[in-house]
Each structure stands twice: as C-alpha cells, then as structure tokens.
Amino acid sequence: MEDLKTYIESGILELYVLGDLSPEEKLQVEDMASKYPLINAELDEIERSMELFAKNNAMEPADYLRDRVINSINTNLSEEGVIIPNNTKENVISLKQSKAYTFYKYAFAACLALLLASSVALVSLYNRLQESNTEIASLQSDKQRFANTVSLKDGELEVLQDASFKFLKLQGTAKSPVSQITVAWSPAKKKVWIDMRSMKMPVNDKEHQYQLWALVAGKPVDLGVFDKNADTADMKEMKPIATANAFAVTLEPRGGSVSPTMDEMMVIGKF
C-alpha cells in the first residue's frame, strides 16, 4: 500500500490525465489502474476534477457553430455509408461540372447537330439536282422533238405552198379498191412526198413494207419504202425523181425489192 501511495503522490497520474506521458508510461499507468482499484479511483478523481474545472470555465460558442460542426461531421457520416439520414442530403452539395466542360459538351453537340443537318440538306439538294437534270434532259428531248416537228411542218408547208408541186391521188387497184395515197411531186425540184395522214392503206405486217415506184418510160424506178402504221400522220419525203409518167405502190418484202411484184400492186395513178 505504501508503494501505491508513493506512486500516486509522484504526480504521474496527473500527467497521464493531461496526456503528458510517453506511450510506454501510459501503458504502465493503465496496467496499474487495472490491477489496483485505488489507483483507478485516484485517476477517476483527477479526471472528474479536470472535467469540472473545464465545465466551470465553459464558454458558449456562437449558435451558428453548432450547425457548421454537425454538418461537417454528417457529411463525413454520409461518405462512410454507415448511416445516411434523409436530411443530410441537404448538406451535401453536389459538385458542379466545370463551366468549360459544359461549354465543350454543348459545343460538340451543336457541331454534331449542324453536321447532321448539313448532310440531310446536301442529300436533299443532290436529289433535287438529279431531278432537275432529268427534267432538263426531258425538256431538251421535247424541244428537239418540237424542232423536228416544226422543221417537218415547214417541209410540209413548203410542199403545199410551192406551185411546182403537183398532187396526184393514187387510186386503189382491184386487189385493194379502197386504198388511196396522195403523192406530191415537183419535177423541177425532183422532190417526191407522200401524205401519210390522208393515206388509206391496210396496215402492213412486220415482214412486208410498201414500196413506191415511178414509172418512167414504162419502167419502174424505186422511190423508197414506207410503212402504214396506226399512228403515221406526217408527210414523208421519198427518193427524188425528175420525170415520171405514173406512180404506183406495191407490197414488198421488208426493205423493198429491185423490181415491183405486180401481183401485189395496191394503188396506181397516172399524170
């Protein structure tokens, strides 16, 4: 007991309470306290008196400090993930993305949208260009057709207006009594036309064609071949000839014959 009293009076327990001992000395004091209730009681007395001392010197911190301290600990509490009370969420300020990052994000999105819109516009423009090109081609072919028609009509008009042309109606033969063809011939210009519009002939098949002949001094001269189709409606210029006594049309194999097949004579007309 005397040793314990000396130990207590050495002041080591006070130093222990004030935290002024090395780790080894601290362990020694704790060991003693666990062995001897007297030392434990003495320690407790010192601790209580220091606690009361602090209590008597207490100072009230500013009111706002309570929330600041509790919030700072609750933030840690949430991070630990042990207990997350609902209201601590208010204390956790979510990290804002940096403005620059947000700017680049939107800038990239804008670029992408612009690229997409441009591509769509380009494709649509390309399609319209194709349509326009097709339209131009079709208009050009139309124009060509009209030009051809006009030049043809000019030719027809010329025939009709030219006084040197003679008109001869070739009448149907016994083989085809209803057939009829009008031939316009200018001996001066050596030009021969047939009027397809007023022509009355049976429609020829694919193996045969009509052939126009001029009879010059009793001999037949080839003036070219033509077809009778459902839609033939123009004047057709045939081969030129300066003199002729008569004109006749025979049905010949396609491409025409060197000399007419007399059995197949459809129409004939004499001047």
Binding site: E14, L18, D44, E45, M50, E51, F53, N57
Partner: protein
C-alpha cells in the same frame, strides 16, 4: 435560426451511440461538451474565428478517432479535452498562426500585447474567482504552462529552472486543490 433543444444522454448512452455511428450522437456530443471544450480552446487560442475552427476540427477528429477510444482508458471527456488541447496548441505553434500574429503586432501592437497578457496573467483565466484564490501562484503557473500552453512537464521544468520532481508535485498539488474545491 432558432436554437434547438439541447440533446443530453448519459455518458454510457453517448459512447454506445458514437460506437454505432448514430447521427443523434453527433448532436448530443456537441450539446453536452461544446461549451467545456470551447472554454479550454478559447483560453489557448485567443482569436475567436481560429477558436471556432479548432472546435470544429476537434469534433471532426473525435468522430473519426472514436473507434480508438475505450472506456477502460478513462473518462470520455479526458480523451476529448486532450484532443482539443492538442489541436489548439498545434494551431498556436503553427507557422501560419505565428505569421498572423506578427502581422497583428505591426498593426495593433498595444491591443495584441494586452491580449497576450490577458491569457497569461489575468486571474480569471483559471476559472472562477474563489478557485483561483485557492491556488498558490506557482500552482497557477504550472497549470497554465502545462494545461493551456502545451508545455510538457519536462519543458516546464527547463523553462522555470525547477527539478522535474518539484514540477510534478506542484502539478499534483494544483489539481488536488481543484479536487478539494469541487468536492
């Protein structure tokens, strides 16, 4: 903000709640000990804003270090007040704090010195008047050096030019005096 009702638990309940990392424990801890701890901190760190920072750091450290506390090693308050004292003393010894005081010295010479004197020599420093009167001057001084200035008893012995044994005895006598007063 209106002051909330203070939460108070028994020490055992508080220790259990802290061990279980309960939110209520944080509030109870603050309500039960903030004034005592702030009193000690304020006497070590004079500047109010710094003292407030130290108080916050103290509670955060108590919370984080709590797993290392054990009731067998003594009372909860003893463990906590030593954390508070260590943080406060670290603060006044830190380079930042010293520089801050140097700047103050230029600006506010007289006031600063007065404040310094306040911490060292004002009798109210060691608490209520009757208590201070019961302590002998050398007991006050040793308590001041060790408890509020962060001297180890070895450093205090060197500073005062007194044998180590005497320092220890004086410290024991000072605390015995406190014990008598509170009993």
């Amino acid at each position: 903000m209106s002051r909330k009702r203070k939460i108070s638990l028994s020490e055992d309940e508080l220790v259990l709640a802290l061990k279980n990392r309960e939110k209520i424990a944080v509030e109870a801890l603050y309500d039960m000990y903030s004034t005592s701890l702030y009193g000690v901190i304020s006497r070590i760190v004079i500047d109010t804003a710094t003292a407030e920072d130290v108080l916050q750091d103290t509670f955060v450290k108590i919370w984080h270090s709590f797993p290392s506390y054990s009731t067998e090693k003594g009372r909860l308050f003893t463990w906590m007040v030593n954390i508070a004292r260590n943080l406060a003393i670290d603060k006044i010894r830190s380079k930042d704090f010293k520089n801050q005081n140097k700047n103050q010295e230029l600006e506010n010479n007289v006031t600063f010195i007065d404040e310094q004197r306040n911490t060292v020599y004002k009798p109210e420093l060691l608490g209520i008047k009757e208590l201070v009167e019961t302590l002998k001057p050398e007991q006050k001084l040793i308590l001041e050096l060790v408890y509020f200035k962060g001297y180890t008893h070895v450093e205090a012995a060197e500073e005062l030019g007194i044998p180590l044994g005497t320092i220890k005895t004086r410290l024991r006598m000072a605390i015995l005096q406190l014990r008598k007063h509170f009993n």
